[in-house]
């Protein structure tokens, strides 16, 4: 009975998100809508790391690698094929395949912890350095010039499936982004409710015990990693559609760092927390750039350090805990305390 109501809860939350987005797309002005679009795209990206880190225990320092791969794949395919339909599919597929390859090397080799962070960081740096160096006109895939540091400008944006002339309006792209976010959120929640999801969390809690109990640890980790990569790739594809450009900055360390900051501030162990904190932090960074009093890095750095030291759970779990404390103490509340552990 309880499980049934949890699933309904998830569906209701997702539908609510979509409905709010639908209302917003008609109600607010274009500029705010465009800003919200990119914030939601980044929210989707932070969702991917929230899943693999918060629930899977895999701290990937190079999540930007999959983001960037999705972005560039979409750009290259859209330019070459003129139709965005299959470009989107490729943008999700390629990072997933890459993550399967990389994950196989990492997880079946028993690499974990800091060393995993080092490898994933190195991978995103390799991609960054390589793409950055492709400025010459000899670097192209089909008709798409890779452009090196300048990136690829004027990328064709989404059109209705199989109708290359029916280009989506900015409002429609906003709806697509919001819809993807809601969909991925729901999917991840369902995955976590399933047996697979529970095993993943068990592995995060104690890898050795899960292995001794007979679960295939590397396979589960690999699958988790791949799911995260697919979502990050989708976010990359939507990012290109927001700005109609892609540049090597999508692979940079600062991009990976930002994702990590969003997840920490929002709360490891939750899915919505990182999304909300991502939107808030993005908004703050944008506002800060329009003034010259305080440097953005200073603010972000202080926030990160403060959160790690003082609020290691993040915003959402802390709020949840405060909320529970305000309610009259019930026997159920004691049982709930342990589930929020990062």
């Amino acid at each position: 009975m309880k499980l049934f109501s949890e699933k309904i809860q998830i569906v209701i939350t997702s539908l609510a998100m979509v409905l709010v987005a639908l209302w917003l797309s008609g109600a607010i002005e274009l500029y705010t809508l465009l800003s919200l679009t990119v914030f939601l795209v980044m929210g989707l990206l932070s969702l991917s790391l929230a899943f693999i880190w918060g629930y899977g225990g895999i701290l990937c320092f190079g999540q930007a690698a999959f983001f960037g791969l999705g972005a560039y794949t979409y750009a290259i395919c859209a330019i070459n094929w003129g139709d965005s339909t299959w470009a989107v599919v490729m943008a999700v597929l390629l990072p997933t395949l890459f993550s399967l390859l990389l994950g196989y090397v990492i997880f079946y080799g028993g690499v974990s912890d800091v060393y995993l962070g080092a490898i994933t960081l190195a991978v995103s740096l390799v991609l960054f350095n390589w793409v950055n160096s492709t400025s010459g006109s000899e670097y192209h895939i089909g008709e798409a010039l890779l452009g090196g540091f300048n990136g690829i400008p004027s990328v064709p944006t989404l059109n209705l499936p199989f109708k290359p002339d029916a280009i989506l309006s900015p409002e429609a792209i906003f709806m697509v982004t919001a819809g993807c976010l809601a969909l991925c959120y729901a999917l991840l929640k369902f995955v976590l409710l399933s047996r697979f999801g529970k095993t993943v969390v068990a592995i995060r809690e104690n890898e050795q015990r899960a292995g001794l109990l007979g679960y295939n640890v590397p396979a589960h980790k690999l699958a988790t990693f791949a799911i995260g990569a697919a979502i990050a790739g989708l976010a990359g594809c939507l990012y290109v559609n927001w700005g109609a450009f892609v540049s090597p900055g999508v692979f940079s360390i600062s991009q990976s760092a930002q994702i990590i900051i969003w997840v920490i501030v929002g709360g490891r162990g939750t899915l919505l927390g990182p999304v909300i904190s991502c939107v808030l932090l993005q908004w703050m960074v944008t506002r800060l750039g329009a003034q010259q009093t305080v440097d953005v890095n200073l603010v972000l750095g202080v926030i990160l350090a403060v959160f790690v030291l003082l609020i290691p759970g993040g915003i959402l779990p802390t709020l949840q805990r405060l909320w529970r404390r305000k309610r009259p103490a019930a026997p159920a509340s004691r049982a709930q305390v342990s589930e929020v552990k990062p």
Binding site: G117, A118, I119, A122, A257, A305, V306, V308
Partner: protein
């Protein structure tokens, strides 16, 4: 033949630069199992201290590089250890993240204080001729200094009481405490030493790279990968990893472009970590310092 010597000096210089870049991080990682992501910014602070001391206050360049920079950053490091690191012992990932936040904050603060014009000092050593070619005397100095630095560190760890206490605390903090040493003080000193070495590295590299607030970002990636690749033994790990990565990246740079050199370094790191998940000294030279 002359050209070959020049090339050889370049390779050795690359190794030396990697060593000097990484030793600060290696000390902290090896002794305290902490990855200090603000290492690059400590180097940046060392660079700024040296340059400001020389340009603004007229201090002779060697003193500002070898004395003032490490002192300033060492003290700063000890303060940071008290304020931030102390609360996060045993939580490796959390210290990485907290120090990453510190590094961003330092970049921001430096940008606000110093602006973004590249500061620099000229190399204090004249060039050296080898046959019809010439190379920078500073490169030779760096090679000698890197070896000397590692040697001094080894002597410190092996033959002094402080080194003994540090190694004991590193192996088993509780046992060392039971035997009378003060782990808190040892950790402070160690982190301060690591920070001082980072500051020294930054000051030494200032004549080559110049200093701007974001210079730390280019250092931290290479240093991090070298240290992790080297494993937990400080001296043997740094030496072996720097030699391996420095040689590969410099050789590849010669035969192609700097981009491929950087990519080669990163790829070799990935391969190394896959084959030796605990770094080089996780497998070889395990008992060494």
């Amino acid at each position: 033949m002359d050209l070959f010597i020049i090339y050889a000096i370049e390779v050795l210089n690359a190794i030396a630069v990697l060593m000097i870049m990484s030793v600060g991080l290696a000390v902290v990682f090896g002794m305290m199992k902490i990855v200090n992501m603000a290492h690059g910014e400590f180097m940046m602070l060392g660079g700024y201290s040296a340059i400001l001391a020389t340009n603004q206050w007229g201090v002779p360049i060697w003193i500002s590089m070898l004395v003032i920079a490490p002192l300033t950053v060492g003290v700063f490091g000890a303060v940071i250890e008290r304020v931030i690191i102390r609360h996060l012992y045993g939580r490796m990932i959390d210290t990485m993240l907290a120090t990453w936040g510190l590094s961003l904050a330092l970049i921001g603060a430096a940008t606000m204080l110093f602006g973004n014009t590249t500061l620099g000092i000229s190399s204090p050593l004249p060039s050296v001729s080898i046959g019809s070619y010439s190379t920078s005397g500073y490169s030779l100095f760096m090679i000698v200094f890197a070896i000397g630095l590692l040697g001094a560190l080894w002597l410190l760890l092996r033959f002094t009481t402080l080194g003994l206490c540090a190694r004991a605390t590193m192996q088993n903090a509780r046992m060392a405490a039971a035997l009378g040493s003060n782990p808190g003080k040892i950790y402070s000193l160690t982190f301060g030493l690591g920070a001082a070495l980072s500051g020294l590295g930054g000051a030494l590299l200032a004549p080559i790279t110049g200093v701007i607030p974001t210079i730390g970002v280019s250092f931290i990636a290479k240093a991090f990968i070298t240290v992790i690749g080297g494993g937990s033994a400080i001296i043997a790990g740094t030496l072996s990893a720097s030699t391996l990565f420095g040689t590969i990246s410099q050789l590849v740079t010669y035969f192609s472009t700097p981009v491929f050199g950087a990519v080669a370094l990163l790829l070799s790191a990935i391969v190394l970590l896959r084959l030796l998940p605990q770094g080089i000294t996780g497998r070889f030279f395990r008992r060494s310092l």
